[in-house]
């Protein structure tokens, strides 16, 4: 799961604009708590993935995101003592003690899980659609090493995925019983550390430790996609923050559930979706 230039508006936008668009969606996911709005934002991210030509890859990320969301929901339901509407009584459980599952804790966990899943999907969309080399160029003036670390981390993802697949294949080839999970986890960690050491040595001999700032380049003329995604990012951020401040899409879980799904919530959800997806409509010059 790594960046590859594809013929889409998001890929055609400069890294700054695309990054800003992703950041605006992340901001919306963080400030909004109403399930209707969060659901709409999740659908927006999936739709953006399809429009950017990375729908298949996002579905793969969904396989990681859904179990994560379910896990969060279940854990919150089991450990939270808040909420008044008991939907299941487990009685005395080891470690957990008296355990009553409430509707409020379950819904709160589900909303929290939905937000986490949406952020995972957004991270996947970012790594698939935003050029890490451009991000490095963007940030090297302010924080070169942090930007490089982030870029290399992105680059290492496919390398480590290949490593873990190799390790898994090797274990399938063993005669007799497969080793335990703990042994495998340790071997994987050791492999990751070896890889990290190799990359660090490669960076050293390429002069990374003594990197100096390049002379300032001329200002780049913004493309239609840069403008589109920048405006969309600003609009999404403003709508998300303003509606939160105005209290238009409330959500409270405890002590009693309050998650309205009326016209106002639907309007905000629809507005955020449209504002985020409008730049994809312009496909002129998407091949760069």
């Amino acid at each position: 799961m790594s960046y590859r230039r594809r013929p889409s508006s998001l890929h055609a936008a400069a890294a700054g604009a695309a990054l800003g668009w992703c950041a605006a969606l992340a901001l919306a996911l963080i400030v909004q708590s109403n399930p209707v709005v969060l659901g709409a934002l999740t659908v927006t991210i999936l739709a953006a993935g399809v429009l950017a030509g990375v729908g298949h890859e996002l579905l793969r990320a969904l396989r990681l995101a859904v179990p994560l969301a379910v896990t969060i929901c279940v854990i919150n339901a089991l450990v939270s003592r808040d909420g008044l509407t008991v939907i299941w009584r487990f009685g005395d459980l080891p470690i957990l003690g008296q355990t009553n599952v409430t509707l409020e804790a379950t819904v709160y966990g589900a909303v929290f899980g939905l937000r986490a899943a949406a952020l995972v999907l957004l991270g996947a969309l970012y790594s698939l659609a935003v050029d890490p080399d451009q991000v490095l160029m963007l940030f090297r003036r302010w924080s070169f090493r942090s930007a490089l670390s982030a870029t290399i981390a992105t680059r290492m993802v496919p390398v480590l995925l290949r490593d873990s697949k190799r390790l898994a294949d090797a274990q399938r080839c063993r005669a007799g019983a497969a080793p335990g999970r703990f042994a495998l986890m340790r071997a994987t960690t050791a492999g990751v550390l070896d890889r990290a050491l190799d990359v660090a040595a490669a960076l050293e001999v390429r002069g990374y430790a003594n990197a100096v700032h390049a002379p300032r380049r001329g200002r780049r003329v913004a493309s239609r996609h840069d403008i589109g995604f920048s405006l969309a990012a600003a609009a999404v951020a403003v709508v998300a923050v303003a509606t939160r401040v105005a209290g238009w899409c409330p959500f409270t879980a405890y002590p009693l559930l309050r998650a309205p799904a009326g016209a106002r919530e639907l309007a905000v959800a629809l507005a955020l979706m449209l504002l985020a997806l409008v730049p994809f409509a312009d496909r002129r010059g998407v091949r760069g």
């Binding site: 680059r155 294949d169 080839c173 005669a175 071997a187 390429r206 002069g207 700032h213």
Partner: protein, 549 residues
Amino acid sequence: MTLVSISELSYRYPGVIAPALDVVSLEVSAGEFVLVAGASGSGKSTLLRALSGLVPHFYGGAISGSVCVAGNDTRDHGPGDLARDVGTLFQDPETQIVMGTVRAELAFGVQNRGWGAAAVARAVEEAALALAVDGLLDRPTAELSGGELQRVALGATLAGRPAVVCLDEPTSQLDPVAGDELIGLLRRLNEDQDLTVILAEHRLERCLAAADRVIGMLDGRIGFDGPPAAFLVWALEAAPYLVTPGARLLSRVGLDPQPGVKAARAALRAARLLPEAVGVPGPDSALSVGGETGSRNRFLPPRRTRSPAALRFDRVWHELRDGPAALRGLSLTVAPGERVALMGRNGAGKSTLLRHAAGLMKPTRGQVEVAGRVALLLQNPTDYLVHDTVAQETSAGALARFGLSELAGRHPRDLSGGEKQRLALAIVLGDGASAGPDADPGLEEPAVLCLDEPTRGMDRAAKDELVALLRTIGLAVIVATHDPELAAAFADRVVLLADGAVIADGAASEVLCGGVYFATETARILGGAGGALLPEDGAALLERERVSA
């Protein structure tokens, strides 16, 4: 002009008692092409790391003596400073590529130095043209083949125009074609641009002829320093495992060893042991001695038969989703006890074929039939080693079978390359004791053993050890390899793959004689005469010719 000066350098890695380098002194002039030869653990890589400043600045450890590169003393200047003058290329291209596209990768090093946009663009274009990767500039690095990645990594090293470039086994992961191309490219850059090249390699037959000078390393010391021909004379006495097959051939017929095919042929011609007409081997050259006429038909895959088989591929296709076909209607039968070498360029389908045999991949069309369990040893034996001790990795019987019982208490990752290889073999083969209808199917003695590039990065001694070991295993063995010398030493039969299909299938003496890249050095020197692949066979042939003449 002296570019590199090493004076009485000794170095120990942290926590290790034995020195990796032991009182090494050396001077390299600008424009020299220096080959560093030696067994695994002899100090080749450490010497290159000392030149790039990684030793001691990155690896730590105890150091004495001095290293001065282009006027920079490495005690005062770390790898970052030295990167201006020293380009370094390691074995594994995958971990050296840090950017997303080839263009960004080539620009990375010079951007680190603060070059302006125009200078960076020019450096990128020039490096791309010099390395012939200009067609790849906007390709994502994640989509490049191993050979392309290594060229890009070399381009990134050269973009900043270093005075000296240090390369640590850069061809170990490349097929023979890409490996020869890389060595040729280095020689051209050395001649055209006066680039100083310091190259550490195991496959000396590939690069000895390109070098001006050879450093022979023995246990952290310099055992030899001189021209390639004199190196071979020294190695015959002091380090026989460093002698190239061509040199062994010449020494067996009483001639002075010579580096490279051309010089070896000239020496044989001067001694009237080789006719003037011998040149590049032809497709039927294996049969040119003895009066038998060759036929191209013998290189085609044999007809499918229903004779007993340990492994049978019947018109197997493997078509990748949104990608090409990795196997294209491949048919292949391996008899019990047969030893087969599988050769071909990177991406030809060798690994895919072995993975199908072991059941790690399923054909999209066609059938794979096996007469029992298939044991597969993948490229990196370390992938099998997940426990704290050798004893925990497999049964005591399996350890005893591969002579590893004495190492039972050691940590698997502390073993040498050859020992890791044997341990991985013990893990995939087991002790072979379980048999009968009630036996655990995972523990039964396999019908076929498959090895994927088992000698990558191995020195000759470890390779010889592996060949001897494989010869003692009475199973059908299939080895995917880029190394024609290994194939010649081990295999009864060689199958050549290209683009997912079998393009040649025959006895080793037939397939490995009729080419340039997939041929042993002996076969290339003799033009494929008599089907001689190994120096011993070649020498015997030449002796017979001498007697009959």
